[in-house]
Amino acid sequence: MSNTDFVLAVEDLTVSFDGFKAVDSLTMYIDKNELRVLVGPNGAGKTTVLDLICGKTKSTAGSIKFKNTELTKLSEHEIVRSGVGRKFQNPSIYENLTVYQNLEVSYPKGRGVFGSLTFKRTQEVEDRVRKVAADIMLTEFLEMESALLSHGQKQWLEIGMLLMQEPELLMLDEPVAGMSAKERDQTADLLNRICQNRSVIVIEHDMEFVKKIAHKVTVLHQGKILAEGPMEKVQADEKVIEVYLGH
């Protein structure tokens, strides 16, 4: 509707599956450089919200504006190209390719058919790959076939693939699920580092982890916002405890 300073403005977003409203008139704004965490009971609609933003699911009603462009009308790759990156819950990388190649494929050049036929590995590409690899702590593994990475490393690699695209909005669905305690800490550091010049939305159930990263927390419940605010406030919210955290 209105022009905003927000990177992402979700307004009155609704989606229903056979009459069941998984997301119900949701309104939510994300600031520049903000790291927002979405929490909420299983089935609250968190993943669905990300699906809607990145175009995987089409909304029934409402609008999603990213830097004042309407996303609901764009197709997935157009949304990506406009600057939105999405990480899936299970690590989604090309197991047949090396770490280097995984990152290279994600480099935002040669994205068209003919561009890809003439794509050359330039110094610029090389530099970017190395920089990102350093960020995600995989410099030593660049030539390894990515199938051989540990689970945590795969998660990082996928984040790295998104970083290659220099997205302005990064969305991560349960990035530390299945990670060891140490990897969780490292991932928290990683996220704190990379949100310096972009906005990040993270879905997570691990409250310890959320504490470490969240600027602001949004609690979803039955497709609606139940509470929103800084971690301490949300954690203390009686309704949140009731439906989500438990006594």
């Binding site: 599956f17 299983n42 540990s150």
Partner: protein, 229 residues
């Protein structure tokens, strides 16, 4: 009594489980803890007969499991909640649970299941594949429980589950154990949950057990250090 001696599992050339031994009693909950890729899932799959394995002994209440196919092991009392849940996506919640009724004479889902998981009753007509992750986890546990197992294997049951339900699952596991005289083996990476359910904690590392504690005197610092190398 669930007994395993010298279990070995390999994927092709590479051996992943190196001669594991353990015994678990009735009414005992055993937690297998370990970082990613240390072999927890592999261990469970081999116990279920999904992966081929070698062992010098594998018995449930003295009944030999070796040479049995997966479904025969279920008949002998094993039940499995896999990591990733493996819900039958095109079947309704109710049908998903019913698949676990192979042994049951009546073919009816016992009422106590829905008592444990009210959300499943509410969603019993919905397709399993459309549930959220947490809902699916509950469904997977329910499906395993209706087989009336002697040994229940749960592979990282808290992965992706909201905090309150993690607590619920812990309660449920404790309750089940009381109700049913059952051995529970659960794999985990998170100590807090384990502490609520396990009588004994074993740490697995690269396919070997490297540490064992009973709940009452857990060396939390040490376990944590193993888990976060």
């Amino acid at each position: 009594m669930f007994e395993i001696e010298n279990l070995q599992v390999s994927y092709g050339q590479s051996q992943v489980i190196h001669g594991l031994n353990f015994k678990a009693n009735k009414n005992e909950t055993l937690a297998i803890m370990g970082r990613n890729g240390m072999g927890k899932t592999t261990l469970f799959k081999s116990l279920m007969g999904i992966l081929p394995s070698k062992a010098s002994k594998a018995t449930v209440d003295g009944v030999d499991l070796q040479g049995s196919a997966t479904h025969e092991r279920v008949m002998k009392g094993l039940a499995y909640v896999p990591q990733g849940r493996w819900i039958f996506p095109n079947m309704t919640v109710q049908e998903n649970i019913e698949t676990g009724l192979e042994k049951s004479a009546s073919g009816e889902i016992p009422d106590d299941i829905f008592a444990l998981f009210p959300v499943l009753h509410e969603m019993r007509k919905r397709k399993g594949g459309n549930l959220s992750g947490g809902q699916q986890q509950q469904l997977a546990i329910a499906r395993a429980l209706v087989t009336n197992p002697k040994v229940l294997l749960l592979d990282e049951p808290t992965e992706g589950i909201q905090p309150s339900i993690i607590k619920d699952i812990a309660k449920v596991l404790n309750e089940i154990r009381k109700m049913r005289e059952i051995t529970i083996i659960v794999s985990e990476q998170v100590l807090s949950f384990t502490m609520e359910v396990a009588d004994r904690i074993i740490v697995i590392d690269k396919g070997r057990f490297i540490h064992e504690d009973t709940r009452d005197n857990v060396d939390a610092a040490k376990v944590k250090s193993y888990l976060s190398v």
